[in-house]
Symmetry: C2
Subunit: 141 residues, 2 copies
């Protein structure tokens, strides 16, 4: 039963956390749209290199049409760049631009600062452990 209680607590806290995080995302994204999606797209392209629409859609488990529009919006803002795959004319490959990298960096900084502050009373050990546990959870999610 202790196990159940622990899992219950985890479920409770994660659910609570998600609600708040989504709120923060939404409230900060008042300026224009997309902020929420764009961070993830930029991060993905920065980390794993150029990707096409289908790939991005799969990464985020969103419909291809949705990613098509989001990528189009990011392209319009000059944060990512479209190039065609020489071996397949149907495919658009998206690459993060220098501007996109800057924006990603700035966004990340803001987000990190928030977490930094949230966890300022934690010891390094605790933070490391927490990160490890989160990573393990995501690996099987």
């Amino acid at each position: 039963m202790n196990n159940k209680n622990a899992v219950e607590r985890i479920e409770y806290e994660l659910t609570t956390f998600i609600r708040r995080a989504v709120y923060i995302d939404n409230s900060e994204n008042k300026i224009g749209n997309l902020e929420r999606a764009s961070y993830l797209i930029l991060r993905q392209l920065d980390e794993f290199g150029p990707a096409r629409v289908k790939k991005l859609a799969e990464s985020f488990k969103l419909d291809i049409s949705t990613l098509s529009r989001q990528a189009g919006a990011l392209e319009g803002k000059g944060l990512i760049e479209r190039s065609s795959d020489p071996s397949d004319g149907r495919v658009s490959l998206f690459t993060i631009t220098e501007l996109g990298r800057e924006k990603l960096k700035a966004d990340k900084k803001t987000r990190l600062a928030r977490y930094q502050k949230m966890l300022e009373t934690w010891t390094n050990e605790e933070k490391e452990l927490f990160g490890e546990l989160l990573e393990r959870m995501n690996d099987v999610f």
Copy 2:
């Protein structure tokens, strides 16, 4: 720098987790609408007792009008019940119904099962520690 790395990892993993969790929520909520919101509302009413629209809106950091509609929908499904505050005729107090409790229980079961499975290889100690850390994080969030 180690500290920064740990926080970076936490930020990365939590962001990833949120994306996936929101996806799951959305995909399960195809049936009708509201599942996402309703779980939280029911949980809130079950845990803290009757509440009025304004209170619920504050809890979830959503606009009052949004909560008004969500509560209306839950009321329509018989999951919560409206009563007026005898001391103030403007206020509607919402209470979870027996049916609502059953639905909450069922939803919770599904969610717990998912977490249970996700964490099945963890030791009890790890689960407990993880829950504790999550709670601490939420407390300052």
